[in-house]
């Protein structure tokens, strides 16, 4: 009800009460009067009726003024105060009420309440922050832990979206894809690019089944071949909702995702089959030979009366077969040497590290000086480092104890399949018999006994062990042959550095994101997955034969740029670069030699962009190059596209320049490594991330809204 009307009703009511009182008074007096007195009263009143009426009206006015005053002094301030309290409740939490005037005390009480509220609120916020930080820390710790594992780990939600993967998995999949289109790993990507959907569903069913049967391990194992023909062994374990503390039993908890532990067993498998082949050739192959020899020998024995030529023939057979068997054995040995050696699980290790560890051990435990005589810095060896270090320490110790050797030196040099690991010393000569005994004794060093002998350590490495004296140089050495390993990928460390301090291999928020079916158009920009990309080209006009020579791209998942999931690829354009273009992109003809052509790269890049929105600066330019290739490669880029140039024009319509540098500077994005495709893609991505909240301020939240706004800008009407 309107304030004025309410006040009017109050005034009218007060006036009515006044009139009622006057009326009642007059009526009471009137009935009390005798008839002649009533007449006299009328005579008295009649001429003065005007005055009486005026006085009554005056009285009404006075009452109205009084009510008005009361209202203004007592009702209005309360209402104002209510408004102010509401303000303090929501819009302006800092605001406090006046503590003077009639309602001062009330104001004070409200202020106290507000203060209390603020304290509580800050407290709650602090607690939330704390909790969030500890969860974040735990997540980071988990991710860091995972990235250290030497086994590939991938965590997926039930839709098969990847929520976490470790560095090992990344490297493994990279090796699987081998530059061309293949298994791709990335946050939010589908695991089904690696594994068949049915295979995963089947494994999940197995797990569900086992969960229901208490007591059985809810894991599933399977082996599968990838598109590139590699053999992967996977173990799947469920990620269950709720924890035991919630009082749920294993059966009640539902599966929300799964952990896959992967191992590429292609190599093992090949080794196994080679070993099988070897067994086969040694058994069945030898049987025939033995049969031939035996038949010949027995014939010779049984029929001693045979002709000399006949006898020579049989002897010839025997000689021939024995020769054949010998050479076959040699061949088997050399062909299968590797597979005969890998009995004991050996770890790959940088030779330098092995020697350094041996030095530390010998110096601290045996108190002997050590030196490096010659170590190949790039050599990787395959060793059981624990027992090998024990062995070296043991040898040094016996040399010290029994022959007073004070210093030993190390040599580690490759020699074909094996490396020479030498323990060298000067002066004392040890007899071969003594060394033989050392080899067979259980090893001890610094009070630590080992059940192993040096010979057994050597056997584990499938090597040999010998002792040699160099009389002229007054020195002697033990030589251990240990297997050489292939150098390990050194990308691991640099790839980890790429992401900065924070690992980018997980995003557990994706757990909640299931069913990505609803259309991209209506999804919020903050929830979408983007591929931000840039290309370098030979020139500006694809219709005149200009070609793409470099792709660079990064992914944005859940509002985070994943620099570790970048795409960086040179492309052989099958034409000469023009000299004037070289300073722009910094790519020389030599760099493009041996690079794949667009026919190989485009499918791989298309797969990298799968199920994402493309973002580029001046996207129309890059898209035109991609579209020119549609016919020849059959690859269509029909992804939704956002252009940072147009979006910039939406946000700052009055700015003159919408060049990438200008926007980056405006939005406070540091520019590093520009004018490589990947460098530009990263800058574009960072610019785009800054734009999302600015667009939201303009009421642009969804993909469709962003695309429409961009279409309406002036720049969109310019043709490239």
């Amino acid at each position: 009800m309107a304030d004025g009307l309410k006040k009017g009703i109050w005034i009218a009511a007060a006036c009515l009460m006044l009139l009622g009182a006057v009326g009642a008074l007059t009526g009471g007096v009137w009935t009390d009067l005798a008839p002649e007195e009533q007449k006299a009263f009328l005579v008295l009143l009649e001429p003065r009726a005007g005055i009486v009426l005026l006085m009554v009206m005056m009285a009404c006015l006075v009452v109205a003024a009084a009510v008005n005053g009361l209202y203004a002094n007592h009702v209005a301030p309360v209402r104002r105060m209510a408004e102010e309290i509401r303000l303090l409740l929501g819009a302006n939490r800092e605001r406090r009420l006046a503590t003077t005037g009639a309602l001062g005390e009330l104001g004070e009480a409200v202020n106290e309440l507000a203060d209390q509220r603020d304290v509580l609120r800050l407290d709650v916020e602090a607690k939330i922050r704390e909790a969030r930080a500890s969860v974040e820390e735990e997540k980071n710790r988990l991710a860091a832990l995972m990235s250290e594992l030497s086994q590939s780990v991938v965590v997926c939600n039930l839709d098969g979206r990847i929520l976490l993967y470790n560095n090992r998995a990344r490297l493994q999949f990279k090796a699987l894809a081998d530059g061309s289109a293949g298994a791709l790993i990335g946050l939010g990507r589908s695991i089904f690019s690696v594994f068949e959907r049915n295979l995963i569903s089947h494994a999940l069913e197995t797990i569900q089944h086992r969960l229901k049967r208490a007591g059985s391990q809810p894991v599933a194992n399977f082996v599968t071949t990838t598109r590139t023909g590699q053999l992967l062994r996977a173990q799947m374990a469920p990620v269950l909702s709720g924890a035991h503390e919630d009082g749920l039993t294993e059966v009640e908890r539902t599966v929300t995702g799964y952990v896959l532990m992967l191992e590429n067993i292609t190599k093992n498998f090949e080794t196994e089959s080679r070993r099988d082949q070897m067994l086969q050739s040694l058994t069945e192959g030898s049987r025939s030979t033995m049969a031939n020899i035996r038949a010949a020998v027995e014939t010779l024995q049984s029929y001693s009366d045979m002709e000399p030529e006949q006898r020579d023939r049989f002897l010839g057979i025997i000689a021939d077969e024995v020769r054949g068997l010998g050479s076959r054995l040699d061949l088997t040995m050399s062909d299968h040497a590797d597979s005969m050696k890998v009995r004991w699980p050996l770890e790959e290790m940088l030779g330098m590290d092995l020697i350094a560890a041996a030095q530390r051990r010998i110096e601290t435990r045996a108190g002997i000086r050590t030196k490096i005589e010659e170590v190949d810095e790039n050599l990787w060896v395959k060793v059981d480092s624990f027992s090998l270090l024990q062995g070296l320490g043991y040898l040094a110790n016996r040399l010290h104890d029994e022959f007073e050797v004070r210093e030993v030196r190390f040599r580690l040099v490759p020699d074909g399949r094996m490396a020479h690991l030498d323990l060298v010393w000067y002066g004392a000569t040890v007899s071969t018999e003594t060394v033989m005994a050392w080899e067979m004794d259980p090893m001890t060093l610094g009070g630590e006994d080992s059940p192993l002998t040096l010979r057994e350590v050597n056997d584990r490495h499938g090597g040999e062990l010998w002792y040699k004296v160099e009389k002229v140089a007054h020195r002697a050495y033990f030589r251990l042959l240990v297997p050489v390993a292939m150098p390990q990928e050194t990308v691991a460390a640099s790839a980890l550095m790429k992401g900065g301090s924070r690992p980018e291999y997980y995003d557990f928020d994706l757990f909640r994101q299931d069913g990505l079916d609803h259309h991209l158009d209506d999804r919020r920009l903050t929830d979408l997955t983007f591929t931000v990309f840039d290309t370098e080209t030979t020139g500006l006009d694809p219709s005149q034969g200009d070609e793409i020579i470099q792709f660079g791209a990064v992914r944005i998942v859940n509002g985070r740029m994943l620099k570790a999931e970048s795409y960086d690829q040179l492309v052989d354009p099958r034409r000469e670069l023009t000299p004037e273009s070289i300073p722009i992109h910094g790519i020389s003809q030599a760099m493009l030699e041996g690079q794949p052509t667009i026919a190989t790269v485009l499918p791989a890049f298309h797969q990298f962009c799968e199920e994402t929105v493309l973002v580029a600066h001046n996207a129309a330019f890059d898209m035109r190059f991609l579209q020119m290739k549609q016919e020849s490669t059959g690859i269509r880029f029909d992804h939704p596209v956002l252009d940072t140039l147009l979006l910039s024009a939406v946000i700052h319509p009055n700015q003159e320049s919408h060049k990438l540098e200008a926007i980056a500077e405006r939005l406070g994005v540091n520019i590093v490594g520009r004018h490589t495709a990947l460098g530009d893609a990263i800058v574009t991505g960072e610019v785009f991330l800054k734009m999302i909240p600015l667009l939201a301020e303009l009421g642009i939240h969804t993909l469709q809204e962003a695309q429409e706004a961009a279409r309406k800008t002036y720049y969109a009407r310019v043709k490239y």
């Binding site: 192959g285 010949a296 049984s302």
Partner: protein, 123 residues
Amino acid sequence: MTRTILIVDDEPNILISLEFLMKREGFQVYTAGDGEEALERIAQHRPEMVLLDVMMPKKNGYEVCQIIRGTPEWQDTKVIMISAKGRDTEMAKGLAMGANAYMTKPFSTKDLVAKVKEMLEAA
């Protein structure tokens, strides 16, 4: 009457010994170096006994044995398989294909002669 025997093996070194051996034991001996040649010889000479190697080019011993057992007029032909494949599964297969006996290489020539004689006398 001289009894006839066909020896089939792709390794000449064993053929020489077995041929000599069987001749000395008084058999009429024919030889073949692969599965197809073996079938030709059987059709041509109708031997009473076939010594059949398993691993051979063109047709292996299992196939040859199957064909022998699938041909009605060759039903009486005795087959001894001799093979370097010594696993029990392979022996089972040989017998299932219709061989009368299976000998694993290397075998004793005495045993082989004894086996051949025993089987022919039983017939």
